[in-house]
Symmetry: C2
């Protein structure tokens, strides 16, 4: 799957693990995907950040009422998918619905209900969403106290991938790809796109 052309003809390339923090350092809103046995889900999460460089770790808030939380507790892993401008409407749909309410229906998960194609991760069970521009495969670092008290999860990034059109050799390069720019949620479906790059 990786290093080859995937289903939607977009090349995914591996990110050097010590550079994985750069996928989240600028603060994009992300989608968290999970799977356990035949259950899978995806939710939106603006509250995420890098926590360490190498091995890379992340911190992310996952509300205790979410179905995603159940699947993370069962599987011990999740994927962070970094969506882009072209996917913003989907991000709002995914972020304002519960996978739990789909259980037992014909389309019993958000991927089916919202027609979201995925591809296979390399080290975890969670599916990765096509159309996103970066993916971080994460294994939970168990910290039950802060999970229970603050809904806060810490995880190690065990693999990371990007759409080579906008991230390669450790650098983002969105020029000429406005629809692939990452997005930053504020509240109520209001976002900023990632803007102009500059060096200070």
């Amino acid at each position: 799957m990786f290093g080859a052309i995937s289903a939607d003809k977009v090349m995914k390339i591996s990110v050097e693990i010590s550079k994985a923090y750069r996928l989240l350092n600028h603060g994009p809103t992300v989608l968290v995907s999970t799977a356990h046995h035949n259950q899978r889900n995806v939710m939106a999460a603006a509250w995420n950040m890098p926590l360490d460089f190498d091995p890379p770790k992340v911190a992310i808030v996952i509300d205790k009422n979410t179905y995603t939380r159940e699947l993370i507790e069962s599987s011990g892993s999740f994927a962070i998918n970094v969506p882009c401008r072209a996917q913003a409407e989907m991000v709002v749909k995914v972020g304002s619905s519960s996978g739990r309410e789909l259980l037992g229906k014909a389309e019993d998960n958000k991927f089916a209900a919202f027609d979201l194609p995925t591809f296979t991760a390399s080290k975890i069970a969670a599916p990765l969403l096509e159309g996103c521009v970066a993916w971080l495969e994460c294994k939970v670092v168990p910290e039950p106290h802060i999970r229970d008290a603050y809904d806060l999860y810490l995880a190690e990034v065990v693999a990371a991938w990007t759409d080579e059109r906008v991230f390669s050799d450790g650098h983002w390069h969105f020029e000429g790809h406005d629809e692939l720019r990452t997005i930053h949620h504020i509240a109520g479906g209001n976002f900023f796109t990632t803007g102009e790059a500059f060096k200070a």
Copy 2:
């Protein structure tokens, strides 16, 4: 000081505390200012995120080798200052120098050494930086294990302020104020500005 014209003629307005998360939700890079007795310091921090709505909490990574960490441990508080495009060069200077190395010199802190005007916070000792576009006054929520293991601090936001030109009534509005747009660090002095707003 607040609700009046401050030294640089910019009106700072109070943010309803339940909306304070919106100052960080889009993932800007911030400056952390601190004070204890006659010591004060400021550092840059890209690794920050909201942690709760009301009362608002934040999570932020503060390396154990920083002078800022010493002052946070002594004072139990810090301020998050949200800098803007016009301040990016200052953010890099502040982020690549140590306040500890200035101790004993004529200009014994970064505010003096870099000529950074400040104003007084309402509930904590840390000075707030003029020219930033939002400020969050924070009191540490003691969690020694994650502090020691991950350099991770949690804090409650006890007051928040904005430059009313770009944030009022709970909303950012950067249009016509490109120099006041917030900034998002990637690595090595490379940033993105906060881009176009849109609703999905």
